[in-house]
């Protein structure tokens, strides 16, 4: 299958969007661990998920929930983009997945919003993509 027979734009946009979602989730994690807890943050990390979040001063797991939503969405958008490359004929399914999880990622900062928007555009491109028909030799 040639490059033209893959939804390249959708793949690239979704990969960048998914990567940004994971990056923003990682940044949120760093912020939680080091900015909010300047002292002995590693110790708290060892305390586990609920223990760590109990130190936030906001409802348990609120920030980690946002972080995890961003992380899971990013992973699924990247999986969608990779599957789109491997199986472009299933562009409707993987485009839907990219679109759904890019939208959900808004809950978890959505790759600084830009990632979510790129994912949504990538998903839309994947849905609307049509494979080019191979022209037979000698055909006008």
């Amino acid at each position: 299958m040639s490059l033209e027979q893959r939804p390249t734009t959708a793949i690239v946009l979704s990969l960048v969007g998914g990567s940004l979602m994971m990056l923003s989730a990682a940044m949120m994690y760093v912020m939680v661990m080091y900015a909010f807890f300047p002292y002995n943050s590693m110790g708290m990390m060892m305390g586990g998920y609920m223990s760590m979040m109990s130190n936030m001063g906001i409802p348990y797991g609120f920030i980690s929930g946002l972080f995890l939503v961003g992380l899971v969405s990013g992973i699924l958008v990247i999986i969608g983009a990779m599957m789109l490359r491997i199986r472009p004929e299933e562009h409707f399914a993987w485009g839907t997945i990219i679109l759904v999880f890019s939208t959900i990622s808004f809950l978890g900062m959505g790759g600084f919003w830009v990632g979510a928007i790129l994912g949504i555009v990538g998903g839309a491109f994947a849905l609307s993509w049509k494979p080019q028909q191979k022209q037979k030799r000698g055909e006008n």
Binding site: N55, M56, Y60, G61, G65, V69, I97, F101
Partner: protein
């Protein structure tokens, strides 16, 4: 559904599993049903929570003082070995969450806060406690707050002092021991009561 709109079983599985995962994360994170939050009603409860928190950090800490405010409980933590005030914590009333006080304790503390990179964990500061009190009093006057600063508590890198009006505490502020900058603790709410443990 056309040939281009195939939705294979494994894609459907990815979609369903992803949605369930996110729904579970949201449920665990936001829904009170899943959380182990507990409301804190007394200073003793706040002290127990603060001590549990401190025991996870270091055995050299003890609770020196707790002040109950309408928004949360304020906890002053002291180093057992040196008797120096270490840092300040807050205990959330509705969740029981114990956390490092955002503000001077986090930003100015030269031993336990962001300023620890200076490697200058000393309480000998260019600005004395006396000067800090004068700066604080001047700040109150400049901001039209008819109140008086109480005795300065020395922390690593800064001072914290109560602010009283008609002998009743009504607020708190901190003064940076290096720059003299005053930071009013505007987040506490109304003072209720306090207990000192030393």
């Amino acid at each position: 559904m056309t040939a281009g709109q195939k939705f294979p079983i494994y894609a459907a599985l990815v979609l369903v599993v992803g949605l369930i995962t996110i729904a579970a994360v949201v449920a665990f994170s936001f829904a009170p049903f899943f959380s182990t939050t507990r409301s804190v009603k007394s200073i003793e409860q706040a002290k127990n929570l603060a001590e549990q928190y401190l025991s996870r950090l270091n055995q050299d800490f003890r609770v020196k003082e707790i002040m109950e405010f309408s928004n949360h409980f304020y906890v002053m933590v002291q180093e057992k070995s040196t008797g120096i005030n270490a840092f300040e914590l807050l205990v959330d009333r509705s969740t029981g969450a114990v956390f490092y006080e955002p503000g001077p304790s986090m930003m100015w503390n030269t031993k336990y806060g962001h300023m620890k990179w200076r490697n200058n964990s000393t309480v000998s500061m260019p600005i004395s406690a006396q000067n800090a009190s004068e700066y604080a009093q001047k700040w109150l006057e400049q901001n039209g707050i008819a109140a008086k600063v109480e005795e300065a508590e020395i922390f690593y890198g800064y001072y914290t002092m109560d602010v009283s009006r008609d002998t009743r505490i009504f607020g708190m502020l901190s003064v940076n021991g290096f720059s003299g900058v005053v930071w009013y603790h505007s987040w506490h709410g109304e003072f209720v009561q306090m207990v000192e443990y030393l």
